[in-house]
């Protein structure tokens, strides 16, 4: 059996290696992409600058050297926690991100929790009422909603609830001067949150439903029924337990997907989060900002996958057999 600390070191080194490869890739690709970062820093003034001035500016920003040299420079700083300045905002990229990350975490995190719970409930409900009228209606509605593009749904919701009915604000994260008012922030959250949830919910609910239905056809269901359990009890006590590992690992992978997948929604609602920031930084060659946003998002994805693997081993005893994990170990039942 492997010692726990070896597993941890193993996982951490994999994590670091993945991040390193990601940073090389993003760094190279962003610099090879067409566009001039000077525009991001100086705006239209670049056009009035002479060639010499432009060269000097490039040198100041460290953009004159060959790409590998630039990368080493960047890496040196990054290892000391210095990720450089944003060309557009002219401040440390960490500050730029710190200003916005709370908004994204709130929108994406809340969306994730709601999706996680609702998908499970909806999937359970549909599996319980398999092929009955209720299941069919839910499946129908779900399939339709999951096919609606997010940007279109956002616009329709803005039109109905903000423009026609005037109940909810159409954009931003808070009204001017109301930054600390929870009610105001809440009302700004409702529409983007609705789009995030509706956009993803059915995909995961359907996954839960189908996994559960697969389980209800397994042999152990018959044995459980023979004990005198009802179909519903078997679904909750037995099938759900067997469907949970794949659901949890799916949701661990979905974590960055949903949290980072708020890009479109943030853009449509002009919601000041990481999504809009990532979009802008890629568009205006704001290299340092792009690097940090990519690394954060990438780190989240890798972390999600790692979490999924760990959860799987933890819940399903079969998964740990290969590394010797729990075999022979006695668990209280």
């Amino acid at each position: 059996m492997r010692k726990p600390y070896i597993t941890i070191i193993d996982e951490l080194s994999k994590f670091a290696l993945s991040l390193f490869l990601l940073s090389v890739l993003v760094f190279t690709m962003s610099r090879l992409a067409p566009g001039d970062p000077l525009y991001s820093y100086y705006g239209d003034r670049v056009e009035k600058m002479g060639t010499q001035e432009q060269e000097a500016a490039r040198e100041r920003l460290g953009l004159h050297a060959p790409i590998p040299v630039q990368y080493v420079q960047w890496m040196k700083g990054a290892l000391h926690g210095d990720f450089g300045i944003s060309y557009k905002y002219k401040t440390d990229v960490k500050e730029v991100i710190a200003d916005r990350i709370g908004n994204t975490l709130l929108l994406g995190g809340l969306g994730f929790v709601i999706i996680f719970v609702l998908a499970l409930l909806l999937g359970l409900f549909c599996a319980w009422r398999e092929d009955k009228a209720a299941d069919r209606v839910v499946c129908g509605i779900g399939t339709v909603t999951s096919c609606i593009p997010e940007f279109w749904l956002s616009l329709v919701l803005i039109l109905v609830f903000a423009v026609w009915l005037g109940w909810l604000p159409s954009s931003g994260a808070y009204s001017v001067g109301m930054e600390r008012n929870p009610a105001d922030r809440g009302s700004h959250l409702i529409l983007p949150l609705a789009v995030v949830v509706l956009g993803h919910l059915w995909y995961y609910a359907y996954l839960v439903r189908n996994r559960l239905l697969e389980e209800t056809r397994a042999d152990y269901v018959l044995l459980a029924r023979m004990k005198g359990l009802s179909g519903k009890q078997v679904l909750y006590r037995h099938c759900l337990r067997n469907a949970m590992p794949s659901y949890l690992s799916m949701m661990a992978i979905a974590l960055p997907h949903i949290l980072g997948g708020t890009y479109v929604v943030e853009t449509v609602f002009s919601y000041p989060g990481i999504g809009t920031l990532a979009y802008e930084s890629a568009r205006y060659q704001d290299y340092n900002l792009l690097m940090l946003v990519s690394l954060m998002t990438g780190g989240l994805v890798i972390f999600g996958n790692m979490l999924a693997r760990i959860i799987n081993v933890w819940i399903d005893p079969r998964m740990s057999l290969k590394s010797g994990g729990m075999s022979g170990e006695v668990r209280e039942f």
Binding site: K227, G228, R331
Partner: protein
């Protein structure tokens, strides 16, 4: 005394392509304490017959005609609720493949405990634990304390089948349905499990409906034998009589 009486039972599967009758007009009785072996080739309807008695047929299958009596009471029209009670107390089943019959994500002890708790809802933790140990010992698993905490993957087929039998016995059933319980096991294990079932029948005095396609197994187990072919039960009688007859016919 007859524990179970089945009269003119027909079971059909309804599919889009039409109706398929899997069990045709089957009648038999099961006497108290006896082992009735239902023998027939794969697909002759023996499993469906068994599942229709305990009403665990898939949704597309229905009992078309006939009556089922358990201890003199008709149970054909029992609701799902009433059947659940019967399954938890009077009927138990042992399945063909123990590795898939056990829930892979639940410790064996927990699966046995669940069955015990259904039968005795108010049971204390301590009593529950000792009952689980008792059942594990009854089916011949050594080191039950350790075994209870393990998962089905940690068991061989034969040991897993012992656990399935332990779950079946948790209900103190009047009738044990054994649906090809040794088919997936190797020969040595097969003999052990058959021996165990015979021993348990002596000890607990339950009746057994034993399904198999294997004549050797039938000879070892049967008090009486019912032969099935194409959904019909065409011959039923004392084991000796029927085996005698079969040997004569074949020579």
């Amino acid at each position: 005394m007859d524990v179970l009486t089945v009269k003119n039972l027909s079971v059909s599967f309804y599919r889009e392509s039409g109706e398929i009758t899997a069990v045709k007009n089957v009648s038999f009785t099961l006497r108290a304490g006896e082992i009735l072996v239902i023998m027939g080739d794969t697909g002759c309807g023996k499993s469906v017959l068994c599942k229709s008695i305990v009403k665990l047929l898939p949704d597309i299958a229905k009992i078309k005609t006939g009556q089922i009596y358990f201890q003199g009471k008709e149970i054909t029209g029992y609701t799902e609720k009433e059947m659940q009670k019967l399954r938890g107390t009077s009927f138990s089943m042992v399945f063909q493949n123990p590795m898939t019959a056990l829930n892979p994500c639940m410790s064996v002890g927990a699966q046995i405990a669940e069955a015990v708790r259904l039968r005795q809802p108010g049971i204390s933790r301590k009593a529950l634990r000792s009952r689980v140990m008792e059942l594990l010992k009854l089916v011949g698993l050594d080191r039950p304390e350790e075994r209870a905490g393990q998962y089905p993957v940690h068991f061989s087929g034969g040991m897993a089948q012992r656990c399935v039998i332990a779950i079946a016995l948790a209900a103190n059933p009047e009738i044990l349905f054994a649906d090809e319980p040794t088919t997936s096991l190797d020969a040595g294990m097969q003999a052990q499990i058959l021996g165990l079932l015979l021993e348990l029948r002596e000890k607990l005095g339950m009746s057994m409906i034993f399904i198999t396609h294997n004549p050797e197994v039938a000879v070892r187990m049967a008090d009486r034998v019912a032969l099935m072919r194409g959904g019909e039960l065409y011959r039923i009688g004392d084991a000796e009589e029927i085996f005698e007859e079969t040997i004569h016919n074949n020579h």
